[in-house]
Symmetry: C2
């Protein structure tokens, strides 16, 4: 197949679509950080005028929403159909962390922006809420459980983006407890074949789920008491 | 007191010190974000040439280290001298979150940069490690407990910087579980007089500490078994 002739004076570019704009925004965010993915930068990258983007997006907030969808599309929620709530929550947390760890500059950006209306991301939240409600969590507690787990997940995704020797006390005198703990952890990580951030994510997730299960079991025994 | 006459051709500026450079860097970070606090921007803000800064700092990494010290100086560790480890860890987490929530742009910046050598921050880690070691935590587990709690704390500090209606499903059809959970949480927050992020931080912290205590008690009973 022969390439169509280029129209003179215009750079060759793929057909401009909303999807292409969002994918380009995410790539520029990853490459350049938050300030590298404005309307102007996206337009330049796609070889079009900024005004051409406005046929497909309403502005920067819309682009942030589209980026949120691209990242959160990778978060699996299917397990809520099959597994007990705490096992589903565990797998959701793992999937959530992986989705954001793949795009570190989106973590702080999306964490402080309100959820844009009409996103596919809203359906993810609806599915997780449904799972917790069905499992018997008190309705007013459901969204807070989601947010506290999200805080841990996003903090862990940031930690995943850090160098593995993040907390190295370095060589020298002093700091005896810090140095001893660092050396002991290093040996343990070697034995397990895990990175520091992977181990902290796994054990922190278990700690949080253990705490949440203890709370949930207390609700269940209250319910059994009432019903029994 | 009369102000000294300005030397012609030079902006009036405070005496340049390392401390002043670090405080200016932190202020510019807060005002402009990560890319607004480079050597050049700090120099311009202080009315000096960039080269003048190098009499006091070795470069951008040194400045990041100084900013880390300024933020982490606000984190209290004195409670590890007096309280059981989990109560000390709870207060440390609260103090840590408040320190970073006061400077949101530092959260993602400092989370992904390795700990600079020779900082006062290292002494904070030494004190926390000492508290956990003394309490009987296995040495190889100590730093991972610190990191998993830090991940939750930093994620919570990001959430604190978000608008309070962050997870608002908005008006409209669909999303029945998400909407019901949102409305029930809103009523609960109103009753408690708490923000969504404050409640999620408190309850997530309790969940994590409950999980950590369960783990620690298992170590203790193994020890009693060996010793008894």
């Amino acid at each position: 197949m022969t390439a169509p002739p280029r129209r003179s004076g215009r750079p060759r570019s793929a057909v401009l679509t909303r999807e292409l704009i969002m994918r380009t925004a995410l790539r520029l965010l990853d490459e350049r950080g938050e300030h590298g993915a404005g309307i102007r930068e996206i337009a330049r990258e796609l070889g079009v005028r900024p005004s051409a983007l406005y046929n497909h997006v309403t502005g920067q907030d819309d682009i942030v929403g589209g980026v949120r969808e691209l990242v959160s599309d990778r978060i699996d929620v299917s397990m809520f159909d099959e597994l007990p709530w705490y096992e589903a929550l565990r797998l959701w947390a793992v999937s959530y962390r992986n989705a954001f760890a793949a795009h570190p500059p989106t973590i702080a950006l999306l964490a402080v922006r309100p959820l844009e209306p009409g996103l596919r991301t809203n359906h993810m939240y609806d599915r997780v809420c449904a799972g917790l409600i069905t499992a018997g969590w008190p309705l007013e507690r459901v969204l807070t459980v989601v947010v506290e787990l999200e805080s841990f997940v996003l903090g862990s995704a940031l930690d995943e983006a850090a160098p593995d020797d993040m907390l190295d006390p370095g060589v020298g005198e002093g700091l005896p407890h810090f140095r001893a703990a660092y050396a002991a952890r290093a040996r343990d990580l070697q034995t397990r074949g895990l990175s520091a951030s992977e181990l902290a994510f796994r054990s922190g997730l278990e700690a949080m789920l253990t705490g949440l299960r203890a709370e949930w079991e207390a609700y269940s025994s209250v319910r059994s008491g009432i019903e029994g």
